[in-house]
């Protein structure tokens, strides 16, 4: 297994400090820009205080600070609950994630239907802080909680034929209003090569900031692959299937010229409509350079040795 270097904890700004910094900025803003609209109090005051500790940092760069809980949970793409990035936080309220069944099947020796609790029980839940890079050139730093997908793969015992893992979101237009419109081919399907699925960085997330995932972030179970663009992170997973052929993944099928199966973060390969060389970190103004594999090249680049990453985008 590749070794994952961890940023020394001394490099990470303690949460108390960055929360204070945000408060200070909010206060400074209130003083300086009070004329602009004193009515809207900083939403920070209303946000629940995140739990401590946030988790073990993986691949963070100097200057990386966790994005606020507020921003992580109110700004994301989850087309099952609307196509605007502020839709999911509103439309997913009341989405019930218990009971929840996960089906593991396909080319494996130990398929099964699991209640979520039983599915998670054998694994140790970990808190990990990862970088997150959206294909739309914005980024965050997110403290996830979850289990390694490698655990699930090991338990299922894929056969030698299995080359890929396909992960599927719940299909239920009653509960997921966005699925009533044909904006994408529902249900949302994503996939990984088996070696990517077994990689120690690959997480099945069940929480953020040390608490359960809110429904808008893909509760109760979502994929996190920090070296890939965010759309690989299939949410509200109900099925994990081992297959021989590369799965037909949703965005790659919808607009093949813009989104590929691999979706590895790559500053050298532009999206047809914008450059991927830089990104805007949510909460900050200045653009920062985008790193190959989103800063996880040391851990994952070997998976793609000899591959033309310009063609396999």
């Amino acid at each position: 297994m590749p070794k994952i270097p961890r940023l020394p904890s001394s490099e990470i700004t303690p949460e108390s400090v960055w929360v204070d910094r945000r408060r200070f900025l909010a206060a400074a803003g209130a003083a300086g820009a009070g004329l602009l609209g004193a009515g809207a109090l900083s939403r920070l005051a209303a946000a629940p205080q995140p739990q401590r500790p946030l988790g073990t940092p993986y691949g963070l760069q100097p200057g990386d600070e966790p994005t606020s809980y507020e921003d992580v949970t109110t700004y994301n793409n989850f087309y099952e609950f609307g196509t605007s990035k502020d839709d999911p936080a509103v439309e997913a309220q009341g989405f019930r994630t218990r009971p929840w069944t996960v089906r593991v099947d396909g080319l494996c020796a130990k398929p099964g239907n699991y209640q979520l609790e039983d599915f998670l029980k054998p694994s140790r839940v970990e808190d990990r802080i990862y970088r997150f890079r959206c294909v739309e050139a914005w980024s965050m730093v997110i403290p996830w909680r979850g289990i390694p997908l490698a655990d699930v793969v090991a338990r299922a015992q894929p056969t030698s034929q299995a080359k890929f893992v396909e992960l599927t979101t719940l299909l239920d237009p009653q509960r997921m209003p966005g699925q009533r419109y044909d904006v994408l081919d529902w249900p949302y399907v994503e996939g990984l090569r088996l070696d990517e699925a077994k990689h120690p960085l690959t997480l099945l997330a069940t929480g953020v900031y040390g608490r359960d995932l809110p429904p808008q972030n893909g509760a109760p179970l979502r994929l996190v692959t920090p070296w890939k663009y965010g759309f690989k992170g299939v949410k509200s997973i109900v099925r994990i299937r081992f297959v021989e052929r590369m799965p037909r993944t949703t965005w790659a099928a919808a607009i093949p010229s813009e989104y590929g199966f691999y979706a590895n973060v790559n500053p050298q390969v532009d999206h047809p409509r914008w450059s991927q060389a830089t990104e805007r970190r949510i909460g900050n103004f200045r653009r920062i350079p985008t790193l190959p594999f989103n800063g996880y090249a040391d851990q994952v680049a070997s998976l793609y040795a000899g591959m033309d990453l310009r063609r396999n985008y």
Binding site: W138, T278, I282
Partner: protein, 215 residues
């Protein structure tokens, strides 16, 4: 010209100041909020105030261009001929919003000349290789000659040629809607609605021209 169908033979006196106030208000609001969010740590406009402002300003650009196209059919329907002189105001506001939209994209979003990581090569690529930016930039650049020739003296000086030049006012909103449609990822519902409104605005002209020709 006929007498107005709905009274109001002359423009109400409050109309011009109200129009200017109402037209400037969204820009003042959006720009203040984005400054408060980006530089003072507030969050009036959500997690990504820059994108939010950029999109809002783009949509207001199209709204004003549509409003300028609405003047003539509305004037023909109501008989309020005094509406005509506000067409220029609305068109100029469309141009102004287009400029602020462009500046938000260039300075805050892409950060041309601001970020040390964004060079002229990137700008060049944006302006030559990305169709939705080329279409948007064309719409903005085509508005420049219209804005310059919008003064009363220019109208008099150019005469018939002015009318030909200002037919661009039909092309520019179409480019704007195309730019909008190309900029969204998959959900084209809103730009499609814009296209329908534009089709009605332009279609009403074709109908009116036919009716006048046969009458």
């Amino acid at each position: 010209m006929s007498t107005p169908r709905f009274g109001l033979a002359t423009a109400p006196r409050w109309l011009a100041p109200l129009l200017n106030f109402g037209a400037a208000l969204p820009a003042i609001g959006i720009v203040s909020m984005v400054i408060a969010d980006v530089f003072f740590g507030r969050s009036f406009m959500g997690a990504d105030p820059i994108k939010e402002a950029e999109h809002a300003l783009g949509e207001w650009t199209i709204r004003f261009l549509f409003a300028s196209l609405l003047v003539t059919p509305l004037r023909q329907f109501t008989g309020w001929n005094w509406l005509a002189r506000h067409r220029r105001t609305l068109g100029l506001y469309g141009f102004a919003y287009g400029c602020v939209h462009f500046l938000t994209w260039a300075l805050l979003d892409v950060q041309i000349g601001i970020s040390e990581y964004v060079g002229w090569a990137d700008v060049q690529k944006d302006l030559t290789k990305r169709p939705f930016i080329i279409v948007g930039m064309s719409a903005l650049l085509l508005m420049v000659p219209l804005a310059i020739t919008s003064t009363t003296s220019m109208i008099a000086r150019l005469g018939r040629r002015w009318r030909v030049l200002h037919r661009l006012a039909y092309v520019i909103p179409a480019l704007g809607v195309i730019h909008w449609g190309m900029s969204v990822k998959k959900d084209v519902a809103e730009p499609a609605m814009g296209a329908v409104v534009l089709a009605v605005l332009l279609g009403s002209r074709v109908l009116h021209a036919r009716r006048s020709a046969t009458a």
